[in-house]
Amino acid sequence: MITALPTGRRPVFVDGVRTPFGKAGPAGVYADVRADDLVVKAVRELLRRNPSLPPERIDDVAIAATTQIGDQGLTIGRTVGLLAGLPRSVPGYAIDRMCAGAMTAVTTACGGIALGAYDVVVAGGVEHMGRHPMGEGVDPNPRILAERLVDPSALVMGQTAENLHDRFPHLGKDRADAYAVASQAKFAAAYARNDIQPDLVPVAVRGSDGAWGLSSVDEPPRPGTSTADLAALETPFRPDGKVTAGNSAGLTDGASACLVAAEETARALGLPVRMRLVSYAYVGVEPEVMGVGPIPATEKALGKAGLTIDDIGLIEINEAFAVQVLAFLEHFGLADDDPRVNPFGGAIAVGHPLAASGIRLMNQLSRQFEARPDVRYGMTTMCIGIGMGTTVIWENPTAAGDDAA
């Protein structure tokens, strides 16, 4: 059923880690930590966890960041390799596709693997939204407004979420808040089961008083959040709007990194194979309702794989906004509380450091695959600013009756 790749080389997800996520801003745990240092810690932990990988076998380092300025600039994939102590012979580059930066780093690397250009790649992403607020240094072309290429609201993500409520008026604030409360609860339950922590890389942080401490758990989650709590929140994007800080992902600092490889290389080096890439797709949508992006992206990726939504046993969808998840669920006829969707909770609880989030979705899906040999296919999907969506479909190597293992 898997689409034949030209070279027959199957890209696999070997292992992924991330830093604990922190709240963006001067009071956040990473306020005084550099963005590049966050990725460096993740990359080094990845290599420590996979000692059978000789570092010189890494063919490339693809690191995503949305705002490629300062400590997120300077061809961050290359500088991270040097800072992490990789051999100088290992190259690196920078990637940007806004919220899908890490996802794009992974799929681009997988493309190179399928082609035979790469055997092993480090892919990762970082966003320090405290040091680099969204929109820092942007200079939109005046034609965008003059020629009405996009609606002005398209550049403010919260407004695109409000636009989505306009398009789907029956997806009301109550449903969005209820979804958000469930996300917090699922995330807290996953923490209690220790489902999240194994893939976290602790980061030493220095407080404003000079004291060193250790960030070892996510800072944004608010376990115990109730619908009553959320009902009281302001709607900053519109008077009498529906989008609040409670039913959307907060501004977040964090980094992630993963190893992807050709399956044959992974096996030869004794590396784990936690997910097999089946297909992926990116699509563009109307920028002012960028939240619908996952819908056509999923249709496209399913089509390439020859699968239907019914074949997908687990879905990790990025929760930029609750309404955007609800629109996706409704399109595919899934209930708001479908157990296949985000079983460990999502970005509404843990946060969304733009270009780092894609690998968090993959980490969580791969952990779920381990525990669910009954599930053969899963997917990671997200909406992307300026009107895009992406979906990656993965196969579970532990799936019962897997003839390819």
Binding site: K41, P202, R206, D209, G210, A211, L214
Partner: protein
């Protein structure tokens, strides 16, 4: 505890955070030492900081639920030891004893703790900082640490907050001698993190990129028992005695018995074999109090401050903004001094350096020297092959001065004769641009006289380097009568980029270092001319703690250069500077040095040199030799200050510390002359007020 009111402690705070160790190892309380400044003001421990650390540890260790305690530092610095200014402000022996005991009381809490204690040595660690770490049950060190040391004996103290006892008991006497005696007396040599780990000072080493995270994970393993700390038991047999004997030999070779600290440290190391730690600590406090109240240590702190601070901000240097850019340098001459200068200038300034001499053979010889030195640097991996290629291409030679037309700085290093140097400058002035700085490397001649006949005398300055140029850190920058500020500023800027310490001196015969050394040598030569054996003279003067006696030094400087300086000074000051017959005969005999290798690698006076000593009589006693020499120094220093050769006696001490390698425990030389009463006896006054480089009068 009473301390001098002028001393304000930069208090190091002990900030804590609870850290959840991985693997369910429990809570580690992480204590960060931080003085609130960046790494340029490293963390030190004074009474208030120690008290805060003690109170913090008391509070932390009283918590029953914690699993471990660890101490670390701000970025790049763990802790560089006791606050020296504070220690130097202590006024009586009870205060000194209390300071020693306070360190033990505070650090002892880490040692006695019922939970495991750790030091995560993330950055520079010296003296009391290292002792703090040694009191912890185990240690990690970052491979990025550039400075690990117990420098106490270098300054005139012993590692008296546990170091002199714990280090030998942990690592054995041999390694203790290396760390406590050998390294400090070898120009205060520092270890890197890797060397410290290899020596056994740390139990684990991690890379700087995630040092703290890995240290915490390692500590968790120790707490859980999954990681064991393996330390070999030191040899407490004959090796202990022989190590201490070796340490004594090192101290003798470096200090000639003149400074008490290394010997007191050796006593502690020796006794540590059979003492309990507590007995050792108590002995340390006694020794520490003794030494803190000794003038050798006070002179050491004074000298340390000169070298660390005054040397970096030369007194009297004009505004650096006045310095002119230097993009090309000419050197007149291609001899040994010229070659050394060319290499150093090319290596540090990375600009073209052109050497000139009278003919092609001489020029090629000079270039050949530079190329050979570059090859040595390359072979020792001190420069990369690419940089070696670059240096070789930067240094070129010419046989006429026309190649200097676009130079921004020309240094002459030709024969030491005023007429020749005047001619060189006159010729240069016809070729170089109007703002090109003309510098002379003369060791004794008048810069003002050299400039007198020029159209632009204001651009002439003295840049007096010391041989070997690459090694000795001092440059005397000589202001002639007409030298202007931009010229002087350029000279200071070049000196700084050469990583030299510069002092400003006025244009007086032989400036500072050579004048004092020549006066000193003059007294030594007079003793020999009176019939005192050369060995007796050298031994008598070396016993001050000098790196070498005056006749040993003669071999390094070269008798001909020494004679030239002596003759110049004799002309200037005939009543105090004589031209010694023995020195003249030495040069006439073509001798390059006084000593030769004798049996068993002993250096003995060359019999041919001994034969040049024709004086009748038994000569002087060692005591007389020493007394006359130090009296001469006191007299000469007072005259130099009266003449205004330097602004302050501190610059004379700094020059002797850096240019002649005179030791810290003499404070250069003025503190020694003050404390022996020589300066008052000879000149009627001290050079420095009591307390500046000595124990303050109470």
């Amino acid at each position: 505890m009473s301390v001098d009111a002028s001393f304000a402690e930069v208090v190091t705070h002990a900030r804590t955070r609870d850290v959840m160790m991985p693997g369910g190892a429990g809570t580690l309380v992480l204590v960060t030492l931080d003085n609130g400044h960046d790494h340029k003001l490293p963390t030190t421990l004074g009474p208030a900081g120690l008290a805060e650390l003690g109170a913090t540890l008391d509070a932390v260790l009283a918590r029953p639920e914690i699993a471990a305690v660890a101490v670390t530092g701000k970025p790049y610095v763990f802790c560089v030891g006791a606050d020296l200014k504070g220690v130097a402000a202590l006024q009586d022996v009870d205060d000194a004893r209390a300071m020693g005991a306070l360190g033990h009381a505070v650090f002892g809490r880490l040692r006695a703790a019922s939970v495991p204690t750790f030091a995560f040595v993330n950055g520079a660690v010296m003296g009391g900082g290292l002792e703090l770490a040694l009191h912890c049950h185990s240690r990690t060190v970052s491979s990025g640490v550039a400075a690990v040391a117990l420098p106490e004996t270098f300054l005139g103290l012993v590692p008296g907050w546990g170091g002199a006892t714990i280090v030998p008991q942990l690592l054995g006497a041999e390694r203790a001698v290396q760390l406590i005696i050998e390294n400090p007396l070898d120009n205060n040599r520092m270890l890197h993190g890797r060397q410290a780990y290899d020596l056994g000072l740390a139990d684990a080493i991690f890379e700087p990129a995630d040092f703290l995270e890995q240290s915490i994970a390692w500590a968790a393993g120790v707490v859980l028992g999954t990681t064991t700390v393996d330390r070999p038991e030191p040899d407490r047999g004959a090796a202990w005695t022989s190590a201490v004997a070796r340490g004594r030999a090192v101290a003798d070779a470096r200090r000639h018995g003149a400074a008490p600290a290394p010997y007191r440290a050796l006593e502690l190391i020796e006794a540590a074999r059979d003492r309990t730690p507590e007995e050792g600590f108590s002995a340390e406090v006694d020794v520490l109090a003794d030494l803190m109240m000794g003038d050798e240590f006070r002179a050491g702190v004074y000298a340390f401050d000169l070298v660390q601070r005054r040397a970096k901000r030369p007194v009297g240097a004009p505004d650096q903004a006045l310095a002119r850019p230097v993009a090309k340098i000419g050197i007149v001459g291609a001899g040994l001094m010229a070659g050394q200068l060319a290499l150093l200038l090319a290596r540090r300034l990375l600009v073209p350096v052109v050497m000139s001499d009278l003919d092609q053979v001489r020029v090629e010889h000079g270039i050949g020297y530079v190329h050979a030195e570059v090859a040595k640097l390359e072979a020792r991996s001190q420069v990369t092959p690419d940089l070696a290629n670059r240096l070789r291409s930067l240094v070129t030679g010419v046989v006429d001065l026309a190649g200097f037309a676009d130079a921004d700085l020309v240094i002459e290093a030709v024969f030491e004769e005023l007429a020749i140097k005047e001619q060189v400058f006159a010729d240069l002035e016809k070729i170089v641009g109007p703002t090109c700085v003309l510098a002379t490397n003369t060791s004794a001649l008048s810069v003002t006289a050299m400039a007198a006949g020029l159209d632009h005398p204001e651009r002439v300055v003295g840049l007096h380097f010391f041989n070997p140029v690459a090694v000795l850190p001092l440059v005397e920058i000589v202001r002639g009568e007409r030298t202007d500020d931009p010229t002087l500023a350029t000279a200071f800027e070049v000196g700084k980029r050469l990583r030299k310490s510069c002092i400003l001196v006025q244009d007086a015969p032989a400036f500072v270092v050579n004048r004092l050394l020549t006066r000193f040598l003059g007294e030594a030569a007079a003793a020999v001319d009176a019939g005192t054996p050369i060995e007796v003279v050298d031994h008598a003067l070396r016993s001050l703690g000098l790196p070498m006696g005056p006749f040993e030094l003669l071999g390094l400087v070269g008798p001909a250069v020494a004679l030239h300086v002596a003759e110049t000074l004799h002309v200037a000051f005939p009543d105090r500077f004589t031209v010694s017959p023995v020195l003249t005969r030495l040069v006439e005999a073509g001798k390059r040095s006084v000593y030769v290798d004798g049996p068993g690698r002993q250096r003995v006076v060359d019999p041919e040199v001994a034969a040049l000593q024709t004086a009748e009589g038994s000569g002087w006693t060692a005591h007389e030799v020493r007394a006359r020499a130090v009296r001469a120094l006191a007299e000469e220093i007072r005259l130099m200050l009266d003449e205004g050769v330097v602004a302050d006696v501190r610059d004379i001490d700094l020059a002797m510390l850096l240019g002649a390698g005179w030791p810290f425990h003499l404070g250069g030389i003025a503190p020694y002359l003050d404390r022996t009463g020589t300066s008052e006896e000879v000149t009627g006054n001290r050079f420095l007020a009591p307390g500046v480089a000595s124990v303050p009068a109470t």
